[in-house]
Symmetry: C2
Subunit: 811 residues, 2 copies
């Protein structure tokens, strides 16, 4: 039976604000005066370097040399901030603000100055003329506040430089914080981005018992840099229909300065708060909430309101021309200077400060105090409130490895993911409300399903039967097919002091590489402020790796995320490639204890041979790289060739090559090295994990040929090794961007990383150094070149190679 | 006046399908039989390597060794495909299909086999038993069809490996193709992604006169890999409200196999086609269409329908268990083998083929013929139908450069972007409907506004007044604050044979790096099929570069996209860093003529000194790198040091350093080299643009110190130079991830790329080779170290440095 949908959109009923104003006239007037102050401060920051209280006529020398900043969004932020303050004070709320349009920093800073949070960290920003001068001049000044929000701004957990992630970040912060409300301003520019468009669904993942709430305020000011916005051109009915479909109740706050915006916003905030608490209280009293409709405020106000209406006949307020600096040349254009003065004087700042330049009491009374100030909310200082995880002893999760030398290693086949899932399951069990896993629908595929044993996935909308591992009952595992949501949730979660992990297909982490870039920048700058203690690290677990994409092929082969992490600051970036399950468990244990880092861990999910006992694994991971003597034939000195495995699949080929060489060419002295911490390759002067040259040579010798079999693009290793001496001797194999749905061994052949390729390379390069190798080099090389050609023929003709070695076996 | 939105969602009226069936019974039955065939073929491809017509009892040896593929989505794709075929035949439509769930390839392939498109390219896939055997066995077989759609599948312009981009790609293909309808299946997994969530807005950018239509079919099968989907758990009312808000009319096709899906889909297709043509006809007859409501079909069918209902007591149809291979072990489990046989026999394939294994005529009659087959639609072979652009002579856009030696160069200040915008404006004027620019709201900011002189931006929703450069009248420039939409539109546009450009802030191109990765893979594989001629290149213009982020600071500094392009295949990847406006115009002209490439062009938007005449620029760009003799003091032989600029801002510092050295240390023989084509650094054996070693040494000498001042992360250059001999002599400066809102020169100081840093490096390294330099080395080094310290103090204290040289001047 087909159904036709009649486009009968929701109706919007106007609500009288008259009674709101009547009952709260004094309060609304006080808020309006407070907003006059913050609007003045926002404009003044953009323009003034002197005469900041307009005590004398405005002159060109009072204007900053470089006019930077975004005025357009600032009055809207000020409107929201003032009313959030009111709500906080009235209900003693635990609340802070995530500002999507982070380039509205002049507004945020204005409020933070008045509430005194700024002064707590910047003692020169006092409540007097000098403090006001310092504050206003400091904006967009080298060494001062940059033009966007950043970690140096109190209460900030999101910059808003790159748009799209504010809303989901706010949800991440609200998770497992049942008393917290995170207000979030979403600009209508940001709303056009894909990540924001899907973030509206986030409430479907918020359990109203265990988590707090997000109060989204969609700010339609109508303009981007030089275009109208999509959402700004949508009618109220369209918006109402859209966001009802997303699951929200909506209230509009709409109009210009003359439309009693304070009364509207006052009523809207009361309504939103009431709805939030009603849902939460009902749920917490045991009434299951089926598809609860959380509140959303849509604020449609003209961009740049309260500025001058026109300039040279062109509109300013309500036009893209007020997006950044509405009057661009007041320093050189006397007429424009006069207009600027008229604009700035329209706020009558002199009425709002004492003779000493201190904001009057009635202004300061509009701000909460202590930790209720949004710039001082403890959640926004995640490093300070962070609790350490209760981690189980990793020995409980050790894989037994038979170390009978040399032939027994590799006899046990285990999936690293299945093993680390057991460890993670215990981490979850021990750390309710403190540790979460965010994954893009890939947990089961990635063989991490055991983490669901403690509690099923959290999902609030009713699901069909036979979904035993999904339930609306809270939990620590959340899955959504949006890497953007996963990443932003995790960022919001850890920036508020909790711990988490993002396991994912290797190929698709690049979807959020620019979010990682921005986060690494956030961490780097955070390190410059001692009052921001390090937060738990951002931990990625990349699996379903490229070498085992026999199901999905070429589109699922992309190790490029490694390269991106390498470009981050050395004090932030870490990349680990544990070669077996014990190393993975040890690495995970290390990363979950670390703070202030971006940790990228890469491991295969398929069953693979195991090499190291847990004790050996711990020592190996601590070193970052070691010689594996049991696989080597150089007896620790003077090898003819060094074979280096970095990554589990590529190490498997190294070990197989070493074993064949041991059997067939025992006179070749082979050293086998495994690197598990990629940054050891870089010099110590470049990265704290880098090896000093003497340590580097202890592993890789001074001058011996070194054949590196790397998991990812060779470029990553080339970058790290660039400064090392004598690098002509290094041969670097890796993923050459060749692949399809084919067998694992064929993937190695296509990319030149197979055991046979390694054997040929080893003999060829060692022959020059060892005459006994030289004697038989040609015949052995021919033999293995023939073997490669033979493999190629089999694959082409039959789709498989009967001689193929899918899993490494000891010969 | 605050308004409250009452959540009065649209009502859904059921429509009787009875009359549809009555009137079209025979046709519906024929379609149902056709679907039995395609469903059988989809299942058979996943399972069978032999006995493909079930002529004998099913035995383990008939089953493939490796069972790959995604069954769950396949029956839904088959339903859509069959009815699109019917619509095409009935109306002689120009139509093809973009399949978001590209892992449903078994379904697409089944239809392509029956319509004969496959046979046109794979002659062994004939309509007989052997052909059927070849076809069924070929799926997920090394050297055969991989498990996802890919360029080897006829009619494919989108793989669907990485999810999120199908819908916007379809819109890109429809642009400027007024008679084309692009059907697009969006899976409910994909619908959760951010890029898809915002792509629903794409119709707001489609002019119904000049462009064709997209017919989206949202396929709710309810499950992802192992989770229910968000959209699958939304009620019809929620979906109706959401998509009404997005601007669509909706019809649901809903139910299982017993719910007369064919009649429903038949009616839905008629309705959708009628709506599309009604909008188009009205618009084309001159009636402006205000917010036209385009049709959307929501198909809610159980995942994996027509398979077995249960396995071992667990549901299969309508459960995540049918997402991939519903029965995993038929080869080893006889009971499961019997179930598989029962399933496969339920389609009664024997009724649908002749004794020779040829599909019966009544089956084949369900497919269009010739170019109306969706596998043969000419638009999907963009390389074949591509028209070359009519490009203006670049000499018309030359910047005059005074070449009076040596002191006059650099005297003209021009913005490269403003200059190239004049060229692009003429390209637009000459090539209506053949060339588009897609930009994320940054055209004006990037100083490319001149391109709007021909026609304003295209945007269909009514915009407020004072938006003189936005109009609903078609056009070649489209802006949306979604890099994902821009990228997907451009991909869809060029894959269907047209040309385009994506200008953007440098920092934010990384938002779509994984889309570029996937596209580069698509190009690489396309090259393996001679019937896919190269399409126009994917051209990026990165500007608002990191060195001039004095307005936006650290969050807007990210040159990482370069590194990602370097990891792509050498026959696809190109990176250009033109040092001035003439070089940029020449480079743009080259890229717009190229095919089959990913061209990344990077240039600053601010006014900068100009160096080369247009003739010199053409020669320089052709070479990719040259010595600039007018800036050098080595007279072409035996320099003490080579200074290399790569990128415009970093070259400016090189030239300033060279000039200071010429004045202050004339005994130092400096060679200045500029690199505009980044890949010349790599060896010829690695990249077609790479230099042979002798050519490399002709520029950079054999052994002289070479100081490279690079635009991006040093790692990019390190990678390219890795294989070169004697690289210890290379010093590589670049972006060290240091920045804030500061002055341009301060950015260079922070990252060690300033003229003073270069002078110090040059003297230090040359001193060892030239005794006359050694004599005065220490004093000059001290002088410039002092200058750097002095700068630092100024910036810290005053926010600016009065001695600062923002724009290079000749001394």
């Amino acid at each position: 039976m087909a159904k036709q949908l009649v486009n009968d959109v929701p109706t919007i009923k106007p609500i009288e604000t008259g009674s709101v104003r009547e009952q709260n006239a004094a309060q609304l007037d006080a808020i309006a005066r407070y907003r006059r102050f913050t609007n003045y401060l926002a404009a003044a920051q953009i323009y003034l370097r002197d005469n900041v209280l307009l005590e004398e006529p405005l002159k060109p020398e009072h204007i900053k040399d470089r006019l930077l900043g975004h005025w357009g969004t600032s009055p809207g932020i000020n409107l929201v901030y003032a009313h959030l303050n009111r709500l906080i004070m009235q209900h003693d709320l635990d609340m802070f603000l995530v500002t999507g349009p982070g380039h509205g920093a002049p507004a945020n800073l204005a409020n933070l100055y008045l509430e005194g949070s700024l002064h707590d960290f910047y003692p020169q920003l006092t409540f007097d003329k000098q403090g006001l001068h310092n504050f206003i001049r400091r904006f967009s000044w080298p060494g001062g506040f940059p033009s966007h929000l950043y970690p140096g701004v109190p209460g900030t957990i999101h910059e808003g430089g790159e748009l799209g992630y504010a809303l989901a970040t706010a949800f991440g912060a609200a998770m497992d914080n049942p008393n917290l409300i995170v207000a979030c301003i979403v600009g209508d520019g940001e709303a056009e981005t894909g990540p924001t468009a899907t973030a509206w669904h986030c409430y479907k993942f918020i359990n109203p018992v265990e988590s707090g709430a997000v109060l989204p305020i969609l700010h339609l000011n109508g303009y981007k840099i030089s275009n109208p916005t999509i959402y700004g051109t949508m009618a109220d009915e369209e918006l109402g229909s859209l966001f009802t479909g997303y699951g929200y109740q909506i209230r509009f706050v709409e109009g210009g300065e003359n439309d009693d915006l304070d009364a509207q916003m006052y009523a809207a905030m009361n309504w939103a708060y009431g709805e939030i608490r009603a849902i939460q209280q009902a749920a917490r009293q045991g009434t299951p909430q089926v598809k609860p409709q959380w509140p959303l405020i849509i604020m449609r106000t003209p961009t740049g309101m309260t500025a001058i209406k026109e300039l040279d006949g062109e509109p300013i307020v309500g036009s893209y021309r007020s997006h950044q600096v509405p009057i661009e040349d007041p320093k050189s254009n006397p007429e424009h200077l006069a207009l600027l003065e008229q604009w700035l004087r329209s706020y009558h700042i002199e009425e709002l400060v004492t003779d000493e330049g201190r904001p009057k009491a009635e202004i300061l009374e509009q701000c909460p105090v202590g930790d209720r100030r949004m710039g001082k909310n403890p959640h926004t200082y995640g490093g300070k409130i962070m609790k350490e995880l209760d981690l189980p002893p990793i020995s409980d999760f050790a894989v037994e490895v038979d170390r009978g030398m040399p032939s027994r290693r590799g006899g046990t086949n285990v999936s690293s993911m299945e093993q680390v899932a057991l460890y993670l399951r215990e981490v979850i069990r021990r750390n309710p409300h403190l540790f979460r896993i965010f994954s893009p629908d890939e947990l089961q595929s990635n063989k991490l399903g055991a983490v669901l044993d403690v509690k099923p996935r959290e999902y609030e909308w009713p699901v069909p039967p036979h979904n035993e591992k999904v339930a609306a009952q809270g939990g620590q595992v959340v899955e959504v097919l949006s890497e953007h949501n996963c990443e932003a949730w995790l960022q919001g979660y850890i920036l508020t002091g909790r711990h988490g992990l993002f396991p994912t297909y290797e190929a698709f982490l690049n979807i959020i590489v620019s979010m990682m870039d921005q986060f690494a920048k956030f961490l780097k700058i955070s390190g410059e402020f001692p009052w921001r203690l390090p937060v738990p690290s951002l931990n990625y677990l990349e699996t379903s790796t490229l070498w085992r994409q026999e199901h999905n092929g070429f589109s699922h082969q992309n190790p490029g995320f490694i390269n991106s992490v390498l470009n981050k600051k050395a004090n932030v970036a870490r990349v680990y490639l544990p070669p077996d399950a014990n190393c993975l468990v040890s690495t995970m244990d290390h990363c979950l204890q670390s703070t202030g880092k971006v940790n990228l861990i890469i491991a295969n999910k398929q069953r693979m041979p195991q090499w190291l006992s847990m004790d050996e694994a711990i020592a190996h991971c601590r070193a970052g790289a070691s010689i594996w003597p049991w696989a080597s034939t150089d007896e620790g000195v003077d090898p003819d060739v060094v074979l280096v495995g970095i990554g589990d699949n590529t190490t498997l080929e190294v070990l197989a090559a070493a074993q064949i060489l041991r059997d067939e060419l025992p006179e070749l002295r082979v050293r086998v090295v495994n690197v598990t911490d990629l940054f050891v390759l870089q010099h110590k002067s470049e990265h704290p994990h880098g090896l000093q040259q003497d340590m580097f040579e202890a592993l890789f010798t001074k001058d011996c040929p070194v054949i590196i079999n790397f998991h990812g693009y060779p470029s990553a290793v080339q970058t790290l090794l660039f400064g090392r001496h004598n690098i002509d001797r290094l041969i670097i194999n890796g993923y050459r961007e060749e692949g399809t749905t084919t067998t694992p061994f064929d993937m190695n052949v296509r990319n030149g990383t197979s055991r046979y390729d390694l054997i040929i390379q080893a003999i060829r390069h060692a022959a020059a150094r060892n005459p006994r190798v030289a004697a038989c080099a040609n015949s052995m090389i021919s033999q293995y070149e023939y073997r490669l050609a033979d493999h190629h023929n089999y694959i082409q003709t039959y789709g498989s190679d009967p001689k193929e070695i899918v899993e490494w076996k000891w010969h």
